[in-house]
Amino acid sequence: MAGLVTENYEFVGGHEWSVPIFLFRYHADVEKYLFDLARDAERERAVFGRLGSDFIGLKLDDRGAVVRLIVGEAKWRGELSDAEVETLMLGKWKTNKRNGQRTRRGGIWAEINRDIDVPHGVRQLQRLLRERDRDGHAAAIVSMDKALVLRNPVPIARTNLIMIVGNGKAKRGEGEALLTWETIPEEYTSPHDLQVVEVILKDGEDLIDEIYDLLWKV
């Protein structure tokens, strides 16, 4: 959905985005099956580091090189209540065992603010480009090589995307936004452009199921 929206709507900066390949992404904690070889291992697996952006899109110049990235988090919530959105953006409450203090940890703002220059997932995207059409995407591939491995590469410009999808809360008014949009939200400290997309649905689950069924039809 993020890809569809990105390609078809106009985003901040007016760039023309192409999402040549869609990456699917699963939740972090189910990847641990790979290592536990079990679905319900009791032991807590510490998973460090970012798992990767949910979504990456490219802007290409005439020669096909990558000049801008759009990188985003896409989240689904069954009910987009205020509290739910707050937790989503600011993180869950966690109690510090030593001094009993409660702080919020995690959340989309935190993730997006501290991201590294070249987001995770670019490598995979490049790989898929190579797979799909090595010659056709040659320029993009090389520019991604440079971004990924050179010590002081020319940094690629970037737009951050936050996409929230879900069923609207019961008392939602028409056109009511979940996040501030007239000014840059103060929680956002990253220097890159920010684009927020909110997709408010009704009976969203049915739509999702239908889409997945379509994909896995053999």
């Binding site: 939740h27 990847e31 790979l34 510490a46 490598r123 491995v149």
Partner: protein, 1205 residues
Amino acid sequence: MAERDQERLEVANTVRTEIGIENVLSARQARSFVRCLQTAWEVPLIQWGTNESLLELADARRLLHVAEIYREVEGQESAGAIECYRRAGELLEWLSRANDRTTTTAPVELFAAAAYQLGGLPAMASGVIGEVEMLDDGTRLYGAFLRADFDGVLEGVAAFWARHPDLTDDAAPRRLLDAGSEGGMSWYFTVELVRVLGLFADTLRRGQTERLDRAMRKLDAMEQMATRTFSEDSSLLITLLRAVANGYMQASIHRPIVELSALNPGRRQRLSRFARGQFSRGRGILWTSQRAGLDRLLKETSFALCTPTGSGKTLVANLALVKELLLPTGLETSPLALYLVPSRALAGEVEAKLKSELGEDLTITGLYGGTDWGITDYWLQAETPTVLIATVEKAEALMRYVGPLLLARLRLLIIDEAHQVVAVDDARTKADLAEHGNRAIRLESFVSRLLARAPDIVRIALTAVAGGAAPPVAKWIENREDAVAIGTRYRSTRQLIGVLETTPRASDRVSLEILNGRRLFVRDRDQPVYLPLRTPVMPYLPNQWQQSLFRFNELSVLWTALHLLETERRILISVLQEPEQTMRWYRKALELDEWSGIPPFRVPDGRLGDIFQEARDATIDYCGEDSHELALLDRGIATNHGQMPQRLRRLMVELIDKRICPITVATATLTEGVNLPFDIIFLTSLRRESFDVVNDTREITPLSVSEFRNLAGRAGRPGASSGLEGMTLVAVPQANSSQRASARSTQDRQRRQMQRDYDNLLLKVVREERQDGAVQSPLALLLDAIAQRAASIGVRQSNFLDWLDRITPAAISPNAGVAATTPAARLADSLDELDGFLLTALEELELADGQELDGAAAEAFLVSLWQRTFTKVAAAQEQWMEDAFIRRGRAIVETIYPDAEERKRLYQYGFTPYVGRRFAAVADDIETILSDATDYGDSSDEARLQVLKDIGQLIEDDRGFGFRVRQTQTDQRLLENWNDVLAWWMRSAGAVAPGADSLRAWQRFVSDNLEFRLGTVIGAVVAQGWSSAADDDAEVPALEDWRETTGLPWFAFWARELLRWGTLDPFVAFCLAQGLAKTREQAANRRAEFDAWLSTEGYVDDAESKIDPQLFLKWEGSLPAGFEDFFDELPDSAILVGTDGRKRRYPVIPVDTEGGVDWLDPAGFRLARTETDDFDLVTHVQKDDFELFVGDRDVTVSRVFTARQ
């Protein structure tokens, strides 16, 4: 698109140059390495921040990415890719071993291992995985896969199916897909991954290419899916797994084996089983050098193979044997291969390995004992293809006995450690040449002659990576100017060189200076890496001992070594000379009260304990109850030196190899002889000192660089987790050990000298690493020595050749042929050595042709022989050398030894001709003694001993062919009283045994003079007896004809064996040789058995019968064979469960379930079941292969491949 590829390559090159060049470490990388070492050694850590770990991790990722670029653009064999993979592996390995907290989604070790595999360093991959305990099943599974442990993969896979029986029906995958639950996709993927890895491992092992291809394609698809669905690191892991799997597929041994089978389809099954067996031994995936070698093998060319120590050359040799001996059809005679080894010790090792791999198909005989052909002479007449393993000396003897026969059957020549043909250009080598004791020239001589006479046989030279020797050896063996050795110069483990700083009253400190041949720096300054050890401080030694700095140094090394044994380390303390002194010091130190706190040595249980006991018994037998060797052995310290009796040496090697003894004290013979790697090698001195009594001079010989490098090459054990790097440390004291003012200046001087020795050596090591110097051939060295010495006694250069035409050794010096050291004598002896080379070659030709040679014919032959010498291809030699060679050769036939009969005799004796002439005088007398010994079988010990004494007496005074000792007082006295030594060695009743301190001197005398010289002399007479009487040179010598042909009694047959084993009773020698007893005493106790058998069978009970080798063999054959068949070969019956069985045959793996065994397709689908409580699921059953057979009336499962225990 070519253009973009170029750009991509440029990007790749930038990164590689920055952080990936082999052996060039950036400051941070070096610090990471140091941190890793410090963690491994549990010493205080260098400063390091989390940020640095992240940077290293990021660099590793960059390298992996760049490696992929190289592969895509340049192909899989891209050198740039390999370099980057290796460096990535290193960076990740160092983080892992430093217990770094910065982790990725998947354990860092997995990435490191994958990187190493893709970089062609499988031993490192295996080591890295072995380093860590993997707690998760998944991680363990991938770890097993990444270290090519396919048995382990199947174990993991089977365990998974045992836990998830609901997933083993063929509708299971669909069910998972349809479930659509949270995480369902991920779980589906995981299960499929288990399926594919199991299938891959099984089909790879079995060599089922079609299904393997399918598994590979599935893995390809899964990788594509992972890239889309998983996070960065997980998908990277899958990508790497796939690349590694692809590599395995390409490098599987089944591939070349299939090609080889095409030569003889009838053998296909046997070869396939061989290949499967290699997987079973963890050697199913070939190294690049092995693949190249096999490639050449298939193309029927000769080649030189260069591999690091302890790696793949055995396989190549084995397959060469298979190809040349097993596969050919329609041959006239049963084929023969000659496998030349440099030492008896190595011969034993090679024989054992070959027998275990190919013993069923080939006759494998080791010829390195006392007799000149094995007592089991059946190989000579054998219908089965045969491999002869021999040292050059034995091969020479063989040629003398049965040359024509040998050549008629010979198809393959394998030369192990072929670089030993290179001579070191120094005074000592020249002296060795003059004293007829140089091995290199013997090798050159034998091989050159063989190549000249049998130019069409296949030739393979195996060399270790020894600076510069490989190219000329390749040229020599291939007989091509443009020949190039196959192989790699990459070491399979890392090598560090440094100093162990020993200090009184403080813990030792390790300083590391060289990593893989280059200086190791931490910061860009000249600051070496330190590992301040946390071992306890060595207690103050008794005053007397502290006066000797050298003694203090040696004991410090022992003390430190004893405290470094927590991990599985194997430590060698290498002693350059006088090991008996070191052994004595160690023994005394271990007896000190202050040293009693050291954890005592525990003898292991079970089979290892048996081996220890056997070694202990042999030690008592050959060294005595009071010996240092025994005392050290009881403390878990093995010893080894060149004068040790063969049998004991081999047992010690086994103790070391199986780490029953973690510490070894040994001289260089240990490391030269056998492939025994160590984790740490300590050296306490870098020089050998000797005193020349005759010339009253002290000679100091520093350890040569090549010897040092050979030694250092043994540090590091591929595949062992503690062996990721090998260390060679030279002990240098940092302070004086003596407190006395009077000793200060002496000890100061000694310390400075030791430091200088080390610094000098290091300079040479680093310098030589960078360039390959020219190599010296022994024959060229000899010719050069002759020319130089001739010039020094006034022979002008222009007259040199004429001089060679007529001069005899006797005319040069009255002291010729007695190993005298005057310049004239040396010249005479060097000339005699050359004459030996030439005479042997000419005589062989004469005997083969059956007609007498004249000068012209000799010349023609020598011209062709010269072309095949190593000298021809080694460093530039000058024309005069060839001229000298040919002129002298011609002169031998025409002038110097013109009598053809005499030449033949001299050839048969085996000495150099001038020495041989002198020998002729006593030869007849010796023959008389031998032929008179008809009563030996019945004689008393005293009488038996007397026979040997009589022979010895004839040679005791001749320094050419007779006894020879060093100029020390001890040795001179031994020479005077050699009868006592003989009595002790032969276990004569009442003989006096040497004290612990004199033991080695006695052993040396036995080894040099009794076993070798006395034995040689007897052998020469026997050989002469045989060849003069044998009518037909192509005749096969059979035991039954032996006495009649030689005209000698059985004693003469046994004499050399008696001297070799140290017994007066041939029966004892026989038992020991055949492995029917472990010690001489045990063998003696079996005498009664033989005697009883003799009378039961009704043989005549005369003196000769009592020692008749034919009867011994018969008796041996009558003993019950003692092995049990452990495996129940009956098939198990089964019921079909998941299949209709229409394909009739299915490979399956067993999964242990309640009440029985499920038989699953390796992809995890249940096919059949056997209900039983009885199935003997021995652990590690996954090492074997099983097949399900669906017959018309029944369904069974059979074990179709059994891994050797």
